[in-house]
């Protein structure tokens, strides 16, 4: 997968992806507009039927026409009677039976979890059928609510999220929506369909995230047809690729301090199972993630014993999307990855050539087993920084969620947590700024820039912040919005800002740099 986001990678023509993305956005906007119009119409109708409006209209008529003035007492009496009748006439219900609305209120109150407020700064709300892993990786960058089959509709109506996501991994055994898509669980499919309807009634887009093989999602085809956007993540096919991203900081916090090798469970393909068997039979101290433990605990325990890991799945077929969460997470955590074949992982690392050595990708099972037996060392600081940089570009949750929001026409930008303000030289070179793989959000300059340069930056979504000449950069005084400020960046290096950010996120000291560049937190 490349840093353009999986939606723009190989597998489907760019123009088709563009159409698909803009189509989804237009559909979402149209639906939102329709919903707003319908709400307004309903509101207007309610107002017109209200006693205040009716009385007002009668008074106006009476003022305009003396004949109506004569009839005014009678008309007002009728309004009073009608209103009284409305209040007293209820539906006929059995003794002891409560009206449905009251029961629904009880049901909603008891079924729905206590919803936490949306944390400030996240600016993106996501709800739906989510796997534990997806929710965990997105949690720090969006307000994520996991719906259950019984409360999906009520939850969507209660929180009115920006995006509703149905994650096919949530349908795996042990997950909250297990067996969704299996005809033996029609109830789950109907619940998911109701959730989609609830989202659409609010004008919110629904995304189907396929994270599992086509055989698992075949029966979700009709649900897919109701969604505004269907994307394929690792494990699915290359129809509409988009990586859901990981939380790189959580993985980076689990640094290697032992020499075991993480080995995934055998995959469904014969070659992958064969490779797993070879690895287990070699004397390599294999470590597995305990499926019985809570996910966080299990991963923490497993990673604590390892310096490297085998990609999951060990071999990715050419038709399947690779760069799975385990592989990407291992890289972010500073562990070397051994893979029997994963073109997407290869492409991801190729973005930062320094990172290519972070993974051993070979189609020779014996070579892989031999490498495993030798005990691969953890990544060097340089490799780790480069690998994280590659992950930030193509497989990090805030970046990928921002891309998703853009595709859906939603003005939310989780990536803003890593926004960089670039302190520019006097001879500001716009082309080189725009060719940075991690573009700054703000450019701080004490020089007067040309209108053309200003326009180019503006079009790229980069704000220009002027500071008085000779003054130090004071983020508060300048009103910077970015989290980081980059100084002395070598704009001749297209990845310089990215590498500085990556090092800053890892807490690494700035590497030797010809320009003495540094990345500081702005607050």
């Amino acid at each position: 997968m490349t840093d353009q986001g999986i939606g723009e990678t190989e597998g489907s023509p760019p123009e088709l992806q563009g159409r698909s993305a803009s189509g989804a956005r237009l559909m979402a906007e149209l639906r939102q507009a329709n919903t707003r119009a319908e709400r307004a119409e309903r509101e207007l109708q309610r107002t017109r039927q209200g006693a205040s409006y009716v009385v007002g209209a009668l008074l106006v008529q009476a003022a305009k026409d003396p004949r109506r003035l004569v009839l005014l007492p009678r008309d007002l009496w009728r309004v009073w009677r009608l209103r009284k009748a409305r209040r007293t006439t209820g539906r006929s219900i059995a003794p002891g039976v409560q009206p449905r609305e009251i029961l629904d209120r009880d049901a909603t109150r008891l079924l729905l979890p206590r919803l936490s407020a949306v944390p400030a700064g996240r600016r993106l709300t996501i709800a739906g059928a989510l796997s534990a892993a997806t929710a965990r990786e997105w949690g720090p960058y969006a307000a994520v609510s996991m719906a259950l089959p019984q409360d999906g509709t009520a939850l969507i109506e209660a929180i009115d999220p920006d995006i509703v996501v149905i994650d096919s991994a949530a349908a795996l055994p042990g997950e909250t929506w297990s067996h969704l898509g299996n005809p033996a669980a029609i109830d789950r499919l109907l619940a998911a369909g109701a959730m989609v309807d609830a989202a659409h009634a609010l004008g919110r887009p629904v995304v189907l995230l396929r994270m599992t093989p086509p055989s698992h999602t075949a029966f979700l085809a009709d649900l897919a047809g109701r969604c505004d956007l269907v994307v394929d993540g690792p494990g699915s096919t290359r129809v509409s690729p988009w990586h859901p991203g990981i939380d790189p900081l959580a993985w980076a916090a689990m640094t290697p301090d032992a020499n075991g090798l993480l080995v995934p469970p055998a995959g469904e393909s014969r070659p992958a199972a064969h490779l797993s068997q070879l690895l287990f039979s070699a004397s390599i101290n294999p470590v597995t993630v305990d499926p019985a433990a809570p996910v966080d605990v299990a991963w923490a325990r497993a990673l604590a014993q390892t310096s490297a890991g085998v990609a999951d799945p060990a071999i990715v077929s050419s038709r399947t999307l690779g760069a799975g969460r385990t592989s990407v997470g291992l890289l972010a955590s500073g562990r070397r990855v051994l893979s029997g074949g994963d073109a997407d992982l290869d492409t991801l690392l190729a973005r930062r050539p320094d990172a290519l050595t972070a993974a051993l990708i070979t189609s020779d099972p014996q070579a892989l087993v031999e490498a495993a037996r030798r005990g691969p060392p953890p990544l060097t600081a340089t490799e780790h920084r480069a690998a994280l940089a590659a992950v930030l570009l193509a497989a990090s949750a805030p970046v990928q969620l921002t891309r998703l929001a853009e595709r859906l026409g939603i003005a939310a930008r989780p990536r803003s947590c890593w926004d960089v303000a670039l302190v520019a030289d006097a001879d500001l070179d716009v082309d080189r700024i725009l060719s940075q793989s991690w573009r700054p959000r703000e450019v701080i300059t004490d020089a007067t820039i040309t209108a053309r340069a200003h326009q180019a930056l503006d079009e790229a979504g980069i704000d220009v912040v002027e500071r008085p000449p000779g003054r130090d950069v004071d983020p508060a005084r300048l009103g910077l919005t970015s989290t980081y400020v980059a100084h002395q960046v070598d704009l001749h290096q297209p990845h310089d800002i990215l590498d500085l950010l990556s090092g800053a996120l890892l807490g690494q000291p700035a590497p030797a740099h010809p320009t003495d560049a540094r990345m500081m937190r702005s607050r």
Partner: protein
């Protein structure tokens, strides 16, 4: 339904043209053969004038099968294929001439017309594949439409488990009526060619049989010889069939298909062939082709071609779909998505011929349940359920009376009695009428009086005011039987029952028999036990992946069902293994106004849901899957059925779970040990959790579930319970039935 005292008679109409070789035509052949082998007299009605006898001849040669050609007998109005209405009219006419006991019909249009016939309804065995295959796409009108068909059907025959689940999950009337009728593969005839060893010296033979249509990738298949040749592989594609589809929107497709069949080097088109000849050709192949467009992956139908190839030991190149994975396994090596996969598979078997040999044996074994022998067994079992034999005493009584025994059933609620009623109605020696009470205590006395005047035997389902009334109005010599459940023991009206008039008091468990005797003082020798029934065949369905970690509860309202204890068990388990989950099939307390008005119920519900949100060991791990008759389909996801109630008269849920292949887990409510084996009863929630985890973590879940399944089959299967009810109509059961435990096996 009046069952026959002679061979069962069937009418079969498939609404298919038997001149054309396709899956539907083969279905008609298989259905006739299975009925014939099960001893049924079959009349099969043709839809179209005979143009070729290659499919009809084998049908005609089957024992007790008569082919009715309405075009030569003057029954059909013309020479055009029958419309649905014409076919139903003819079926009615044939039925009038010689009444059929069952009428097998296939296809939505035809079945719709047949279901609307008041003459045929109730005897229809319907087979539908052409219904919407998506629950989301099914609208209310379609649900009503299929619901009406379900109501008119004695059985709905479903081709696959997936289709059965869809129908049961969307059509409430279909629950309990859906049975599996898988495609049937006839046994290969003798003299089929053996497989030639794989070698580079000869071309690989890929064989396709069936219709030619875009979604079946048949045009793409004709490109394979050239594509393989580019890779240095010599491949022949043999294609059998003569039905080339016209494609709306692409009128030239059929022309292109025909041209490709006729003029592509490496493609050998054999045209239409009798089935056995097609199988002979298929048997000579190295691979069968069932590679289809991905749009077909969500199909709920299983290709008969796949089964045929596999039964011949010919590995099949086919899409990876959930159904194919169930059939052939997840690690089957010849799943394909495109030509590249096909080339890889061809190259792989040439490089490793032993792989072909291994897979050949595996696929052949995998399709054994789809053979004609298995189908005939299924048909016999279905016929036995539909037309049960009466016990000897009952038959003798009917013979003595010179007419069927007249049985009246009086009740306000027959939900626990319906399958027994169905069974009794199906007996040739019983004539059954129902006095349906409006409520527990209100009825139409004239209807009840008529029943007293008419019946030989009266059954009061529930010991309610109905029993009081009938005990005071029965005629001398009239037999009165009552079935008492649980709540009646606390009611005041039992004192008004004239017990001398009651011949048998049926309880569902020894514990309640004991309580009944204790509280009522009724004669102990008349108190007997017939357990509740479990339709074990309905529940026998494959489990879904991960079922061993899923606990299930059926019915959690009112609070005395103790869902809180179920949640406690879950919490204890999840502290050890986070994969455990709890699925609940039930209405919720607020769905019952008489429950929700009680403050104590509200408090209990508040507590329960508070825990489900606040206790991190269970938060998000409990799903409420609604309420409905599709319990058998729902149980596929469940590996453990809990019974944590404060008290129960029987609690059917654990027994249904056992029938489904789940393990029961009960707390010791009073009388539980008189129904279930004590090995399933645990002292408290902690011990229950210990036992569950020990079983799962030691890998013993499957074996334990098997033991439970054997027990339920021995203890309270539907046929045995119904058999006992047939006996009690004419003979007193032993009071010994009310002692000990019902658990057997």
């Amino acid at each position: 339904m009046t069952p026959p005292a002679r061979p069962v008679r069937a009418l079969v109409y498939g609404d298919v043209n038997l001149n054309i070789l396709d899956g539907s035509a083969i279905w008609v052949q298989s259905m006739c053969e299975a009925l014939s082998l099960a001893g049924v007299d079959v009349r099969v009605l043709l839809k179209a004038p005979v143009e070729t006898t290659r499919l009809i001849d084998p049908v005609q040669s089957m024992a007790s099968v008569t082919v009715i050609d309405p075009f030569t007998s003057g029954m059909a109005p013309g020479r055009t294929p029958l419309t649905a209405d014409e076919a139903v009219t003819l079926l009615e006419r044939l039925d009038a001439e010689q009444p059929a006991d069952l009428i097998v019909v296939r296809g939505l249009r035809l079945v719709t017309a047949a279901a609307a016939s008041s003459h045929l309804t109730g005897r229809l065995w319907t087979y539908l594949t052409d219904i919407p295959h998506s629950a989301l796409d099914m609208d209310d009108a379609q649900r009503q439409h299929i619901g009406a068909i379900a109501t008119a059907s004695r059985w709905m025959l479903c081709q696959t488990e997936e289709l059965r689940s869809l129908i049961e999950g969307t059509i409430s009337q279909a629950s309990g009526r859906c049975v599996l009728w898988s495609p049937v593969v006839p046994p290969p005839t003798a003299g089929l060619p053996g497989h030639s060893p794989l070698t580079d010296e000869r071309p690989l033979r890929l064989v396709y049989t069936g219709k030619f249509a875009p979604l079946w990738n048949t045009l793409e298949m004709t490109h394979l010889p050239a594509l393989m040749s580019d890779r240095g592989l010599s491949v022949e594609v043999h294609m059998v069939g003569d039905k080339i589809h016209d494609v709306p929107g692409d009128p030239e497709w059929s022309g292109r298909m025909r041209a490709a069949l006729e003029g592509t080097p490496g493609v050998i088109w054999h045209g239409g062939m009798p089935r056995q000849e097609a199988m002979t050709l298929a048997a000579s192949g190295d691979f069968g082709l069932s590679w289809r467009d991905a749009a077909m992956d969500a199909s709920l139908e299983l290709s008969t071609k796949v089964l045929e190839f596999a039964s011949l030991g010919v590995p099949v190149l086919l899409n990876r779909t959930p159904m194919h994975e169930s059939l052939l396994g997840e690690d089957y090596p010849f799943y394909v998505t495109d030509e590249t996969d096909i080339a890889e598979a061809c190259a792989e078997v040439l490089a490793r011929p032993s792989l072909w040999t291994d897979v050949s044996g595996e696929v052949s074994t995998a399709v054994t349940p789809y053979g004609m022998a298995a189908a005939t067994e299924r048909m016999r079992s279905l016929l036995e359920r539909t037309f049960p034999s009466p016990p000897d005493d009952l038959a003798a009584t009917a013979a003595r009376l010179g007419r069927p025994l007249r049985v009246g059933v009086a009740s306000h609620d027959l939900k626990f009695f319906n399958r027994i009623q169905e069974h009794l109605s199906a007996l040739s020696d019983v004539d059954l009428r129902v006095d349906h009470w409006d409520t527990l205590s209100s009825h139409d006395p004239s209807v009840s009086e008529d029943l007293v005047a008419w019946a030989d035997v009266i059954i009061c389902e529930w010991a309610g005011p109905n029993l009081v009334w009938y005990s005071r109005h029965t005629r001398p010599g009239q037999r009165l039987i009552v079935r008492l459940h649980r709540f009646e023991l606390d009611a005041g009206w039992l004192a008004d029952v004239r017990i001398d008039a009651v011949d048998q008091i049926v309880c569902v468990s020894p514990f309640y028999a004991h309580l009944t005797a204790e509280r009522t003082g009724w004669p102990i020798e008349r108190i007997v036990v017939i357990p509740n029934w479990v339709d074990v065949e309905q529940f026998a369905r494959p489990k879904l992946r991960g079922a061993e970690y899923t606990l299930g509860m059926i019915g959690i309202s009112p609070h005395r069902k103790r869902p809180d204890l179920g949640v406690e068990v879950l919490s204890l388990l999840r502290r050890r293994d986070r994969r455990y989950r709890l699925a609940v099939k039930s209405k919720l307390p607020w769905d019952y106004w008489w429950i929700w008005r009680k403050p104590e119920e509200r408090i209990a519900a508040e507590r329960l849901f508070h825990r489900l949100h606040e206790d991190e060991t269970v938060a998000g791990a409990v799903t409420f899957d609604g309420f409905g008759g599709d319990v058998a389909a729902w149980l596929r996801r469940v590996g453990w059925v809990l019974s944590t109630s404060d008290d129960e008269s029987f609690h059917l849920a654990p027994a249904e779970g056992m029938a489904s292949g789940a393990v029961p887990a009960l707390l010791p409510w009073p009388g539980a040990d008189t129904i279930y084996d004590v090995r399933w009863i645990h002292d408290d929630a902690r011990r229950m959790a210990d036992a569950i985890h020990e079983t799962v973590s030691s890998g013993a879940w499957l074996a334990t579930a098997h033991v439970a399944n054997q027990q339920v089959r021995a203890s309270f299967p539907l046929d045995s319970v119904c058999g006992t009810w047939s006996r009690i109509l004419v003979e007193d059961l032993s009071p010994d039935t009310a002692r000990g435990t019902l658990a057997r096996g």
